[in-house]
Structure formats: structure tokens, C-alpha cells
């Protein structure tokens, strides 16, 4: 017994010293702050897949770490700083409201590189922002919904009325109207990114109001599961959720962060990292449509064609004529939206059956 204990202690000591050696600064350390658990099978799951891709691609030259369930509040400041102090070379903060804590930490730690997802503030030279044109996928979804819906009304589970979310809602209804000009969209605001029971309740409420297709801008698979139970169709969000609704999911917008994360970590390694603000989309492979399932072939063919047109640039979802919800004209026939209006979008287009919270 004593011998076993001794052996155990000795092996632990060896492990300890081994760890100490491995911790020396030959590796580049990439760190990630997540809003939800890595097992949300949506937003955070996809970011974590990106982190794993960094490990797979760059092997021993890199080391990664992550913190999950970090609230979007003053509480986020400490974990971000803890990362910066623990030797991370690059820190990805992956939710909108980490904006101020990330900028604060960036000022305090000028040698560490910061990457903030979906934000717009870059207050020091060592912070970049990145996002994806999720709205491109929303347009495709809108077309599919208008083709398949019997009630002519789809439901949208929304998180917070920030431009990114409003843009998605507008792109969805514009896609739908390109097929059926009278298509309607109901919106429920749940004021959270990840709260499966709340998301499920929102889905139930929407179904009770007569929608027969659901899409969401929240992170869990709850709505997909409710849609399955109630026998209607739904779109996966952020990740391919087909496992949670094999007979329910029509397609999903897959956020593929892997190429960006690998590129940026590599840039840190090679000393070529520079501040930037990127907004990649389908053309860059950052927004990917999951296989078109549970729909007739002609609808799938239409969706494939639309996605291809968006990818090659021949179709831009925000192209006129577009009327705002209040009846005023936004885009003239053939006119394309300028990027500033897209980035700051704070109004609905016609057809959204909801009042935008202010």
C-alpha cells in the first residue's frame, strides 16, 4: 500500500515538472471567452469547433484555453484579464456585449492581441473585430419558408434588438417576400442568448399563434426540439442541428469560424497580426448552409441556386425596391444598401408583424 502511494506521488511529481516544462513560452496561446456552454450545439459550440480546428491545424505550436458561461456583464472583465495575465497571446471574446470589457482589457495589455466577435469598437491598436454575414443565409431561409409554409406566417425567436439581429429578421422577410409578397413574420424577443426553457416557451407561443416554420437567433436547440414535437418545420441556428430534428430541420446557417481562427492565430505566430475589421460571408466560407432536408426537390433546387447567387455576388439580399415598416421608401428599384445602414440597422422592413423594441 505504502509503495503504491509512493509510486503515485512520484508519478504526480513527474507530471508536475513535465507540465512546468511544457508551460514555457515556445507555444502560442490562443484563448476563448464563451457566452454559453460548449455543449449548446449552437453558437458557442461552433466557436469551440473553431478552437479545436486551431489545435488540429497548428498542432504543438499552439495551446488553447477557454472559459464558458461567462456572463455579458461587469463579471466578464475579470476572466478576460485573467486570460491576458495568464500568458494568452491572442484572446477571442465571442459575444456582442463583451465589447466594453474587451476594449478595457486591450488598453491594459497592449502586448496581447484581442479579437472581438460581432462588435464595432476598436479603441486601441491591439483589438480587431470580426463577424459574418449571417443575413445571407437568412435570405435563403426566408425563400424556403415562403415556399413551404401553409399558413403564410413564420416565427422568429430573437435575442436582443442589436443591428445584427434586426438585419437577420429583415433579410428573412425579404427572402420570403421574393417568393410570396404577402408573407408575414412574427417575432418574439426573449432577451437572452442562451436559455433553453425560455427559447422553448417562445417557440410554443409562436406555434400557438399559427406559425408553421420557426427560425431563431438564440443559441440552443430548444426551439428545434419543440418544433419536432409539434410537427412543424424549423431552421437550425449557428450549427447544424439536424440531430435534434431529423424530420424537422430544413437547413441551418452554419457559422464556420475555423478558417478565421486558424488565420489569426497563425498571424500572431508569424508576427504579422494587424488590427482589422472583417465581415466575411458565404463567399469566404464563413457562412455555410447545411444540407437542404425535409423539403421537395424543387424547393431545395431553388435554395441551392439562391445560395450560389449570393456566394458569387450576383444576388445581394438588400437590393431595392424595399419599403420600411413605416411605409417610407428605403431602397429604390435596383439600389443596394450601403454598408453603414446595414451595420447600424435599427428599423424593420415591411411585412414584419412586430414593433421593434427601442
Amino acid at each position: 500500500m505504502k509503495k503504491t502511494l509512493f509510486a503515485l506521488a512520484a508519478s504526480c511529481a513527474v507530471m508536475l515538472s513535465g507540465q512546468a516544462l511544457a508551460d514555457s513560452h515556445a507555444k502560442t496561446k490562443a484563448c476563448f471567452i464563451y457566452i454559453g456552454p460548449t455543449g449548446d450545439f449552437g453558437w458557442t459550440y461552433q466557436h469551440d469547433q473553431g478552437r479545436l480546428a486551431v489545435e488540429a491545424e497548428l498542432g504543438d505550436k499552439v495551446e488553447t484555453a477557454y472559459l464558458e458561461n461567462v456572463p455579458e456583464s461587469a463579471e466578464a472583465q475579470r476572466p478576460i484579464e485573467a486570460f491576458a495575465r495568464s500568458g494568452c497571446n491572442i484572446i477571442f471574446t465571442t459575444s456582442f456585449n463583451y465589447m466594453d470589457p474587451t476594449n478595457k482589457a486591450a488598453k491594459k495589455h497592449p502586448k496581447v492581441k484581442f479579437e472581438h466577435a460581432t462588435g464595432f469598437k476598436r479603441e486601441s491598436a491591439n483589438i480587431s473585430t470580426y463577424s459574418s454575414k449571417f443575413y445571407q443565409g437568412r435570405y435563403v431561409q426566408g425563400q424556403i419558408a415562403a415556399k413551404l409554409s401553409k399558413t403564410g406566417v413564420a416565427g422568429y425567436i430573437a435575442s436582443f434588438p442589436i443591428p445584427e439581429v434586426v438585419r437577420g429578421i429583415n433579410a428573412f422577410i425579404l427572402g420570403a417576400q421574393s417568393v410570396n409578397p404577402d408573407f408575414k413574420l412574427k417575432v418574439v424577443w426573449v432577451s437572452t442568448w442562451f436559455d433553453p426553457p425560455k427559447e422553448a416557451d417562445a417557440a410554443k407561443a409562436l406555434i400557438d399563434q399559427g406559425v408553421d416554420i420557426i427560425t431563431q437567433h438564440t443559441d440552443s436547440t430548444a426551439a428545434m426540439q419543440v418544433a419536432s414535437e409539434r410537427g412543424i418545420k424549423a431552421f437550425g441556428q449557428a450549427s447544424d442541428m439536424i440531430k435534434f430534428g431529423p424530420n424537422t430541420q430544413l437547413t441551418a446557417i452554419i457559422d464556420d469560424w475555423a478558417p478565421y481562427y486558424v488565420e489569426r492565430v497563425k498571424a500572431v505566430m508569424e508576427g504579422t497580426w494587424e488590427q482589422q475589421d472583417v465581415w466575411h460571408g458565404m463567399a469566404d466560407g464563413n457562412v455555410v448552409m447545411a444540407p437542404y432536408t425535409n423539403m421537395p426537390d424543387d424547393v431545395a433546387a431553388m435554395a441551392t441556386k439562391t445560395a450560389a447567387a449570393i456566394k458569387d455576388g450576383s444576388l445581394e439580399p438588400f437590393t431595392g425596391p424595399v419599403t420600411k415598416q413605416d411605409g417610407s421608401e428605403w431602397l429604390k428599384d435596383g439600389e443596394k444598401s450601403d454598408i453603414g445602414t446595414l451595420l447600424g440597422m435599427n428599423f424593420y422592413v415591411k411585412g414584419v408583424d412586430d414593433k421593434l423594441p427601442q
Binding site: 504526480c12 507530471m15 472559459l67 464558458e68 456583464s73 461587469a74 485573467a82 486570460f83 436582443f160 432577451s191
Partner: protein, 358 residues
């Protein structure tokens, strides 16, 4: 042979001091086993968890920040628990205190005055005390079980504060995120060190702890609390009123929880948001018992529990254990503390089974 617990004629002085230390030691052993099961090096894990945060001034300060609300709530609970009143709802009193304290800077936003901060602190204490008064009145007037009522009122408080920050008090410029406007400088508790995070709430907590310690151990009121807590019947003969004691104890503990709430709002967050409740009100129950219901012991216990939060984050960062591990550690700690308390009142004896049957 079997093990039997025999009641001691008197409580054991030795074990009163030893039992929290034994509990800590048992938790360390259980923690080591947990690390081994997770496939991590237990020595390195425990080092990262419980030692490393103490070696760095920055994380020492973070421990201070975390310990402040825990300590304030727990010293109030100590008064309550000692008098035989089981206030499980400190979490709710903490939230309502935070909300009451935030009332002036939210409703009179822009009012700068040296009076603002003291008023906020008083309002916070008043809010917590009033909210604690509800279960106290219910108990003393109608004989309801205060464990149930105080606990259930937590959920009421959570929903209420959540509604307030999403509805009437929401910052119109906050992009729909739940939370009030940020307070002006005169509504913020000043920091102890320049560029640091620790605020003067920590100093207030220590002063309050000394004051309550004095009251409990040196005054007639303290004697009354002890008598009524240990033997309500004897207390009645001495002319003490158990009903008035219930009101008094809940007022004190509610006020302390409320002070912790406004301290957190004004010292750490700088506004009222929906993330104020991080379970401090419940964690403080562990702190109160770990500190042997003695306000001075609680100051130390608050630091220990704060260490488990900060260490838990460090462990996530450097060895990749889940944030759930922190919760498990805290749960283990309370479990062992309560279990070891048995040793104070009981003697463990081995009894041969033959003898026992006679």
C-alpha cells in the same frame, strides 16, 4: 462492531475550532480525487485552485472583490441563524437591496452630490431590511415557516429585478440589453487602489463584521440572541420575546444583504443589470457556517470561498476543468462543514455489536 454517536454533555471546545479545518482538509482530499477522476494531476490542480491565486497581487484583489458581498451577507445571516431564525432568502434581500440602492441614481440620473453615495447605501440597507421583514412578519404573526417563505421570496425578487431592468429602468441607449444607465462617478463606491478593482465595500464589510461581533459577544442583545437561539423556553422565562427577536434578526440580516447588493451595484458593476444575482445569497450560507456563525470567523471564511471562485476560474484557464467544478467544490465544502459539526455535539465511539444488543 459498529460506530455510534454519543451526545456530549457539553459542546466540545476543541472540535469547535477543529471542525472547519477538518472539513477543509476533507474537501482538499475529495478535490484531489475529483482531479484524478478528471484525468488531471491532483497536486497541480489543487495548487492552481488554492495557492496560485494567493501569489499574485491582481488575483488577491479579485478575491477581495468576491469576498466582500459574501462576507456582508454572511455576517447578517450569522445573527439570524444564531437566534434560531432560518433566513434562506438572503439572495432576494441582496437583489432588492441592490435595486433600492440603485433607485436614486436611476430615477435622478445626472444628480451629482457627495450625499448620493451615502443615500444609496442607506436605501440599499432599507430595501434589504424591508424585504427581510416580510418573512419575519409572516413568522411572528402567523407562525409560517420562514425557511419556505424567505426562499420563495427569492424567486419573486429575481423576477421583479429582471422585469425592472428590462422594462421601466432599461437604458434607452443600451441596444435592448437589460440594464440601467451607468451611474455617474458620485454614485460609485471609490476604489481602494488606483487602477485597481477592490472598492471600499471591503472596508465596510470588515467594520460591519467587527460591529456585529461586538454586539453578539459583548452586549445584552447578543446574550438574548444566544439564549433565544439555544432555548426559546429559557428565553421566555428570562423575559425575552422570540417574536421580536425574529423581526430584529431578519431586519439585521436583510439590511446586511441589502448593503452587499448596493455595494456590488455601485462598487463593481456601476449600474443595475440582470446579472447582479450570481448566487452570493446562497453561497453566503456556506460562508456563515464555515465561519462558525462568528462575524470575525466569517471574514476569513468569506476569503476562503472567494478563493474557490477565483481559483476555479484559474483552473479552467490553465488546466481546463469545467466551471461546474467550482460549484462541486463549494458544495463539498458545505457538506463537510455540516458533517464535521456533528463532532462538536457528539462523540464517535466504537461499540461491539453484542454489547449493543443488550
Amino acid at each position: 462492531m459498529r460506530i455510534e454517536l454519543q451526545k456530549r454533555p457539553d459542546i466540545s471546545k476543541l472540535y469547535s475550532i477543529l471542525s472547519p479545518l477538518i472539513a477543509l482538509a476533507l474537501m482538499v482530499v475529495a478535490g484531489a480525487i475529483m482531479f484524478i477522476l478528471l484525468g488531471k494531476n491532483p497536486f497541480h490542480g489543487l495548487y492552481v485552485y488554492f495557492i496560485e491565486p494567493l501569489t499574485d497581487p491582481w488575483s488577491r484583489e479579485q478575491i477581495l472583490v468576491k469576498a466582500t458581498p459574501l462576507t456582508l451577507i454572511a455576517i447578517g445571516l450569522a445573527v439570524c441563524f444564531r437566534s434560531g431564525n432560518w433566513n434562506i432568502g438572503a439572495e432576494g434581500q441582496y437583489l432588492i437591496g441592490g435595486m433600492f440602492g440603485a433607485m436614486i441614481p436611476v430615477l435622478f440620473h445626472g444628480w451629482e452630490s457627495p450625499l448620493l453615495l451615502p443615500l444609496m447605501l442607506i436605501m440599499g440597507m432599507a430595501g434589504g431590511a424591508l424585504y427581510g421583514f416580510i418573512p419575519a412578519i409572516l413568522k411572528s404573526r402567523f407562525g409560517t415557516n420562514e425557511i419556505l417563505t424567505s426562499l420563495m421570496l427569492v424567486y419573486v425578487a429575481q423576477q421583479f429585478v429582471d422585469w425592472v431592468v428590462r422594462g421601466p429602468w432599461r437604458d434607452p441607449q443600451g441596444m435592448g440589453f437589460p440594464g440601467t444607465k451607468s451611474f455617474n462617478d458620485s454614485g460609485l463606491l471609490p476604489k481602494i487602489f488606483e487602477f485597481g478593482d477592490a472598492h471600499y465595500g471591503a472596508v465596510i464589510a470588515v467594520i460591519a463584521a467587527v460591529a456585529l461581533w461586538f454586539m453578539l459577544s459583548k452586549t445584552l442583545k447578543g446574550f438574548e440572541i444566544a439564549v433565544l437561539g439555544q432555548s426559546p423556553r429559557a428565553g421566555r422565562f428570562a423575559g425575552f420575546s422570540a417574536k421580536q427577536m425574529t423581526l430584529f434578526a431578519f431586519l439585521i440580516s436583510g439590511a446586511m444583504a441589502g448593503l452587499a447588493g448596493i455595494g456590488e451595484v455601485s462598487g463593481t458593476v456601476g449600474k443595475l443589470d440582470d446579472k447582479l444575482s450570481l448566487g452570493y445569497g446562497f453561497a453566503a450560507i456556506i460562508v456563515a457556517f464555515l465561519g462558525r456563525l462568528n462575524p470575525l470567523g466569517i471574514v476569513a471564511a468569506g476569503l476562503v470561498l472567494a478563493l474557490s471562485y477565483i481559483g476555479g476560474e484559474a483552473a479552467q484557464i490553465s488546466i481546463g476543468v469545467s466551471d461546474r467544478a467550482t460549484r462541486v467544490f463549494q458544495g463539498l465544502l458545505l457538506f463537510f462543514v455540516l458533517a464535521c459539526d456533528t463532532l462538536i455535539h457528539y462523540r464517535v465511539v466504537l461499540v461491539s455489536s453484542v454489547k449493543a444488543r443488550m
